[in-house]
């Protein structure tokens, strides 16, 4: 049984279909990337899966249970966590306290929440930053805080919304390491939205491509990078020329 099944999902805003008949499955232990141009409906898809939006039609099944339209808090309690693309923190909670809010989903004990949060900060390389305010941190550290906070809810499936956006190459290396750690050591199934192709091609096992709200391709990173439709809609000829080895040939 798949961990997550999305069946014929449609999300319309007025006349605009942000998601149009999207279906896919995600197995336990998978690492799936969702790519596509801006406005393709990637974040809307996340919002529908995580219960922020109720889909116009279609179903979302998580762990065998239909979770369509049950609302974000109920989805989170079933073990599906997410990060946000733009993390707005008003500056009232410091880094440790932010992560503690996540821990409080599973425990009512402040002492236990604090212990767990401290452990998570250490795991995510944020140990020294516990008392800092989130909005005072560099972007890379902020992204780690959002990941740590989401992980604090002990999810089975983690949705990461553009965790590499705005990072420099060495920071991207770092966040890739964190994702590998979460996926490999913690055994959390991961689904991510990303524009940074280096990250997508490196760590994904599977990729789905959205364009104008529709799923136009699905497959391994290698297959996707050769798919003419994907190249036309998103990757572009230049990317393929520079990064994708021609069939049978050596990398350029």
């Amino acid at each position: 049984m798949a961990l997550l099944e999305v069946h014929n999902l449609v999300k319309a805003f007025g006349g605009l279909k942000a998601n149009d008949d999207v279906s896919f499955q995600l197995e336990q232990g998978d690492l799936l990337s969702v790519i596509g141009p801006n406005g393709a409906g990637k974040t809307t898809l996340f919002n529908c899966i995580a219960g922020m939006f109720a889909p116009t039609s279609g179903r979302v099944v998580f762990g065998g249970e239909d979770i369509t339209g049950i609302g974000a808090p109920a989805v989170a309690r079933r073990g599906l966590a997410r990060t946000f693309q733009v993390y707005v923190a008003g500056g009232d909670l410091n880094v440790l306290e932010n992560v503690m809010v996540g821990c409080f989903m599973r425990t009512g004990s402040p002492a236990r929440a604090r212990r767990q949060a401290e452990g998570l900060l250490e795991e995510m390389g944020l140990k020294e930053l516990g008392r800092a305010m989130v909005n005072e941190l560099p972007v890379a550290a902020q992204k780690r805080v959002t990941m740590a906070t989401a992980l604090a809810t002990e999810p089975r499936l983690l949705l990461l919304d553009e965790v590499a956006a705005g990072l420099n190459p060495s920071e991207i290396e770092g966040i890739m390491g964190s994702i590998r750690h979460v996926h490999g050591e913690r055994g959390v199934t991961v689904m991510l939205i990303e524009h940074v192709m280096e990250l997508v091609m490196n760590i994904s096992r599977r990729v789905i491509v959205l364009d104008y709200g529709r799923k136009i391709a699905e497959g391994s990173p290698q297959d996707i990078s050769r798919d003419p439709q994907v190249i036309k809609a998103y990757l572009g000829e230049k990317y393929v020329r520079d990064h994708v080895p021609a069939s049978g040939g050596a990398p350029a």
Partner: protein
Amino acid sequence: MEAIKNAFDFSDFPRLDRVLAAGVFAALLAFPLFPYSAFAMATVIQFFMFSLYSMGWNTIGGYGGQVDLGQAQYAGIGAYTTTVCLLRWDIPFWVSMPIGVVIAVCWSFAIGYPLFKLKGHYFAIASIATSLVLKDVFEVWKFVGAARGLGILPSKYQPPDFLRLIFREDVYYYYVIFGFFALGLLAMNWFRKSRLGFQLRSIKDNEEVARSLGINVRWAKIKTYGLAVTFVSVVGSFHAVYVKNIEPEDTMSLDLSILIALMAMMGGAGSFWGPVIGAGVLIPLKSYLKEWLGAAAGMVGMDLIIYGVIIMLISAFEPRGIWGIVEKIRRRTRI
């Protein structure tokens, strides 16, 4: 139990704060042992009452960021419950006060359920409206004395009456409200470390994120609102036996609602000491301004103008109030 341990544990405050707080606490405890004027006594009692009102407001309004301007209705519920219980059925304070809390909390659930669908200014306006409606109901309700209100005649009882809290000397009231003040501080110390406290701060930060972390935002707000009105209703009950004369225009006025919120905002909304500092600054100021200026012809209401200006200045320059200024200085000088 962890909750009780947390309520008594102040060890995470800086040493300086603990020493200062202990000093002020001891001074307040000893205050009635020294010669005092009736005016000073009344002012300190007011300080305790408004600290507690604002502590209650601070849970939902400060930590949760839901600016409620209708707390007076809960003070009214507490005050009326205690007065009516005493006058009609001779029910003592220690029984009528919890009854008042139960009624206030039930009412807060009924009000909060629809109200917390609203956000920001809309919530604030709606909270004012609910309070004014209840006040209008009390003004025409004969059972509770309508617009003329109800009065407790101390001569009908034998003061000091510790069950009904009927005293002749203010010093008894002083120590009763002091006890509530201490309990209030313990409750707030629990709240700020509790799951509910963290949930409210997360909600203030970003409701979308809070929801994604499994927080049922509306329910968390309603629960906290119930906690807030518990504080306010208890003080309302105390007000009834202390002042012994209640009427809707006084006990449930918009002025009271606004003062409750302003005390916490001025001291520092969402901080532990904010309500105490706010009440500690505004109550003496308000009392003395009333005494000095209010007596002069044509100067009535001047006190309101003066502290209105102070509030405007504070909210323009430091929205986190006096405590925000303290923390800023502290970060710079590392005291």
